[in-house]
Symmetry: C2
Subunit: 356 residues, 2 copies
């Protein structure tokens, strides 16, 4: 019998919040690398909120998945077969893949080689991966963060937010995190050591709560939520303030035209505000330096990784659906196989939501 692998495909289009039943597991022949490619067994795969935009079957800013298509994700895995002399069997790589047990790696696409084994493999899908890099380049390249500034990070206990918020604190900024629920807010002040955390579910007037935590005003808003959050913070911004449009989890499940709009734009002129979006892959040539700096922050304990690991491909659809129920604590990953030798166990870092 030929070898096989398993993957998760879209079984029906999502309407509103995604559900586990929108997906199904499929068995497929093991993929075969061509010249220049290699075969990877995925060890950890991610579930990403941004994936939602491709699951409605409707034209959007990203091409929609068709029914039966494999759902996209990032992974870290081990090369188990190679037809590329630069990538040896046994090497560990991070890839943009799908919810699959095995995948073809191709250096013409997104491939990050993981040589540094000092941190748990999961970190390379978190603070050292796409989510951490999104925080890094958003703060340093888009916002050009300066020490002493006041920074507000929304969805601050999430994958991107937890990295961005700690980076802002490390950079010497007064850092205010916004999250939902006391557990996340407690994590933000106790473990991530932010200056303040605001539970948006527990305050009547979020703007007033942010204003109280930011007595000098807000220099940088690092937003992962969407228009309504931006609208709330704009009136609190100082001159030459910057808004990093990093993510829009509020918008992924709804029709854009029906959603909240940014109305409070007078201050864009009077306060000379700048609002900017960026795609983290544009900065790929400079990831190496950022990864190394982030790894140092993690090893020194300055920056705490925040992820949780579910077990087995079968767990993936509900792990994804749970993102939109606000369940996740940091980066949510699914383990498909054992770690290779030489990586420390996940337990060495703070993982309040670890369910592996």
């Amino acid at each position: 019998m030929s070898p096989t692998t398993r993957r998760i495909v879209l079984d029906r289009f999502c309407d509103g919040l995604p559900e586990a039943a929108d997906f199904r597991i499929e068995t497929a022949p093991m993929p075969v690398p061509r010249e220049g490619q290699f075969l990877v067994r995925n060890i950890l795969i991610s579930v990403d909120p941004g994936t939602r935009a491709r699951l409605s079957g409707k034209a959007s800013y990203v091409p929609p998945l068709k029914l039966g298509d494999t759902v996209g994700a990032f992974s870290v895995g081990e090369i188990i077969e190679s037809r590329n002399p630069d990538f040896a069997v046994g090497e560990i790589v991070a890839l943009a893949v799908g919810w699959t047990e095995h995948v073809i790696g191709d250096p013409r696409g997104f491939v990050r080689r993981i040589g540094d084994r000092r941190l748990p493999l999961a970190a390379w899908l978190g603070a050292l991966g796409v989510s951490g890099m999104t925080g890094w380049f958003g703060l340093h390249r888009v916002a050009r963060l300066q020490a002493g500034e006041t920074v507000v990070v929304t969805s601050a206990a999430g994958a991107v937010g937890s990295a961005a918020a700690q980076l802002a604190r490390i950079h010497g900024c007064r850092t205010i995190g916004i999250a939902g629920g006391p557990a996340k807010c407690n994590w933000l002040t106790e473990t991530a050591r932010l200056d303040a955390a605001i539970d948006y579910k527990a305050v009547d007037d979020l703007g007033a709560a942010i204003a109280a935590a930011a007595p000098k005003g807000v220099d940088v808003l690092f937003d992962n939520v969407g228009n309504q959050m931006i609208d709330t913070v704009i009136p609190l911004m100082r001159q030459n303030g910057r808004i990093v449009v990093s993510g829009q989890i509020d918008a992924y499940n709804q029709d854009e035209a029906a959603g909240a709009g940014i109305r409070n734009t007078r201050a864009v002129i009077t306060q000379r505000l700048a609002m900017q979006g960026r795609v983290v892959f544009d900065d790929l040539p400079e990831w190496g330096g950022a990864e190394a700096a982030m790894a140092d922050h993690m090893l020194s304990g300055d920056l705490v990784g925040r992820w949780e690991v579910m077990n087995g491909l079968e767990a993936t659809p509900d792990a994804f659906a749970g993102l939109f129920r606000g369940e996740n604590t940091g980066r949510r990953l699914v383990r498909l196989g054992p770690d290779p030798e030489g990586f420390p166990q996940d337990q060495s870092l703070d993982q309040p939501g670890d369910r592996s």
Copy 2:
């Protein structure tokens, strides 16, 4: 009898569209310069849409005028008395003043010396003044305009827009102007020589009309109108597009929270868009170079000034109210006195709406 001067003050707070009856003329003692100051007879004063935000009596991003306060404006005038050795009687200056026949000039405030007498004085309140500089620095500093890009300018027949649109064309950009009515659009293509003009009052689907005029997409939106216009253009923008938030005439008469919001923000991330506001006075140290370049463009005929001149202080309130009825063609000015010697007459430049 002591000498007197006249000024226009706010007589009642504006509610919705301003009317001439919201203002009254007052006679006051002639102001007396202190040490370091000088006295100016205003020759031309401006009426500015942005003034509207201060006329409601409500707290706003700018301090509101109280009843009886003089209404703000810009002027060009002649120094008729000086207690500052650097500013001689007979010199011509541009100032930020009010609707007044005479005003005290103080070099600690906004004072531009006008030495170049090759262009009509009115140009120094138009393309060579605040409105032209707003176009210049918006395009060059905020948008960092590149030759060959596609630029959309809204309110393109207005004071700022007409300067910005022609500058974009001069810079080698495909330039599309949006304005209301066939006369303005005809001016944009015939006199300002833009690549295309769109009459927003005459099209059913403004977005589709812009898309047709910008087949490669829009690199830069220079917006003078407000959120709804930005929302219309965002989906048409190319990667790394820039939105210059230059003015918001749509918003000046309405409550911000009730107005249109910017909803189409997904492309801010996927297309890496940047939206930025700027106040032209921040660039004051570099106005000199921009003024000289603009003057050269005007003298060569590359850039056509667009202004109209009403006569007499009494005409000012209705000249202002008319801005919000869409009456003005370019920069609207009021003449309070004769030009000094050596300046060419207004008639040397295109002034389709001249009523002086």
